[in-house]
């Protein structure tokens, strides 16, 4: 392909071009809520089974799960253990809910940041371009360029 660079278009050193981003400012896809995650749902189901009176053929499985919990906690099947596990599950729920809330806030912040970067960057560039003829291309530091030391 033909390329015949024209010196006057190779850049205007007195008017630095806008700086580029090293990463896109786009807001990514929001994180999926962890409260409805399958692992949390499984924990709830198992806990529901362990606290429900066994009926019919389910009794053997309930006893096995109960023994499993007993081995994990090195305790018997007392009410104290059940309360502790219940508290643990509620704590997991609370942490999951807080994570979801933080994710939602982060997504909002990313959207706000992207909007700000996009809109302000566009307006600033348009202002610089429109004011260039008025300034007669007078040397001026680029607001987007790094500030000199000192």
């Amino acid at each position: 392909m033909v390329r015949e660079p024209l010196p006057e278009l190779s850049g205007h050193p007195e008017e630095p071009a806008p700086a580029m981003f090293t990463r896109p400012s786009d807001a990514p896809e929001p994180l999926p809520p962890i409260h409805g995650d399958e692992r949390v749902a499984t924990l709830h189901r198992q806990w529901l089974r362990s606290t429900t009176t066994p009926t019919g053929g389910g009794g053997a499985r309930w006893h096995r799960f109960h023994r499993l919990l007993g081995r994990i906690t090195h305790r018997g099947s007392g009410s104290l253990d059940r309360e502790l596990i219940g508290d643990l599950i509620r704590a997991v729920d609370a942490v999951a809910a807080r994570c979801d809330e933080i994710s939602e806030r982060l997504a909002q912040q990313q959207t706000v940041l992207d909007d700000a970067v996009t809109i302000l960057g566009e307006e600033l560039t348009r202002l610089r371009a429109e004011s260039a003829p008025l300034l007669g291309r007078a040397p001026e530091p680029s607001p987007l360029a790094p500030m000199p030391d000192g």
Binding site: M1, V2, R3, G11, A17, P18, S25, D26, R126
Partner: protein, 344 residues
């Protein structure tokens, strides 16, 4: 089919023949091909004298080696001696070395130049052939260069891009260490139009920018790749048009894509003909692109540009006849104005 013999001859004195990436080479080869329809053609290049070197349709005659691929001094040059007295000479770049050769070996010959050179009033300057003309200018002396395209390129977008409707920028730099940061004009464009993809073709690579960030890089292997990029762009911004006819701009117009080009470049007559807009700096460039964001304006320029480019640069018969007319040979056909002869 027997070999045609002509009483007339054209000598192509080409220093850029072997530089296929240059527009000078493209134009010199095209003119040689067109001239071969009405005259014998002899192509002379810098290089070892002696045995002709086959190169496609023509054999290349070496005139001798100069410094850095230039022409040799007349004293060391081997000028072809079998040319008819009325041979017309076309020199691609009439630099001092070429003019010295012509003054020594062909002082009485009619000489045309492809590239403009010298300053106004220079008595040694060779008048250049005209490949572009302002809208109000006459076209009788215009060489209606045939700039071929493949219309099928418009049927499929470039394989590496999943979108169309971008700003296509033909860069004004070569040999950069990487695509980032982009050339300054691209930085202005992507900062001013953050929601639009800006595709920058540079060194056989197309870099995609959006919102001041590099989004990806695809290769441009062939001319068809470039045509696909051109055909599916909103607008082609050529920051460094070719110096003779601005070939990529003409191709863009033939695909119906309006152009934005620098004032004073060889592409400005195309823009002035109603096929695009021209600019002098980044502020005007951004204003031009903002204006072309209007689909109505873009469609109007697209239609005008396609008609203009097809009529002026899309007819090989008209090209052959215009070369014959300007070189002083009788025409071989009756061109059909406005007819584009490229077929898939």
């Amino acid at each position: 089919m027997g070999e045609r013999r002509f009483e007339r001859a054209t000598l192509i004195l080409s220093r850029h023949w072997r530089s296929p990436d240059s527009e000078l080479s493209f134009v010199a080869r095209s003119v040689a091909g067109a001239a071969s329809r009405t005259s014998e053609v002899c192509v002379v290049v810098p290089g070892p004298a002696g045995r002709p070197e086959p190169d496609g349709a023509f054999d290349l005659l070496g005139l001798g080696d100069g410094e850095d691929g230039s022409w040799p001094d007349p004293a060391r040059a081997t000028w072809p001696d079998s040319l008819p007295p009325g041979t017309t000479i076309v020199v691609d770049e009439p630099d001092a070395a070429a003019r010295s050769l012509l003054a020594h070996f062909a002082p009485e010959h009619r000489v045309h130049a492809i590239a403009p050179a010298g300053t106004a009033g220079d008595r040694h300057a060779i008048p250049p052939l005209r490949f572009t003309a302002p809208p109000e200018g006459g076209t009788s002396e215009l060489i209606r260069l045939h700039v071929p395209i493949n219309p099928l390129a418009a049927t499929h977008r470039h394989n590496g891009l999943g979108f169309t409707g971008y700003l296509l920028v033909l860069s004004d730099r070569t040999g950069a260490a990487g695509v980032s940061p982009p050339t300054p004009m691209v930085a202005w464009l992507t900062a001013r139009f953050p929601g639009v993809h800006v595709v920058v073709v540079e060194d056989a690579v197309a870099a995609v920018w959006r919102g001041r960030a590099l989004r990806g890089v695809v290769s441009v292997y062939t001319r068809t790749d470039l045509w696909r990029l051109v055909a599916h762009a909103l607008v082609t911004i050529d920051l460094a048009p070719g110096p003779i006819v601005a070939r990529e701009c003409v191709e863009s117009l033939r695909f119906g894509t309006p152009i934005v080009v620098p004032v004073g470049s060889a592409a400005q007559p195309h823009a002035d003909a109603g096929a695009g807009l021209s600019f002098t700096g980044y502020a005007e460039l951004l204003a031009c692109v903002a204006r072309l964001s209007d689909a109505g304006v873009r469609d109007r320029l697209s239609q005008r540009g396609r008609l203009y480019a097809d009529a002026r640069y899309g007819n090989p018969d008209a090209f052959v006849d215009s070369v014959a007319r300007v070189l002083g040979f009788p025409a071989v056909s009756s061109p059909a104005d406005g007819r584009a002869d490229d077929s898939p």
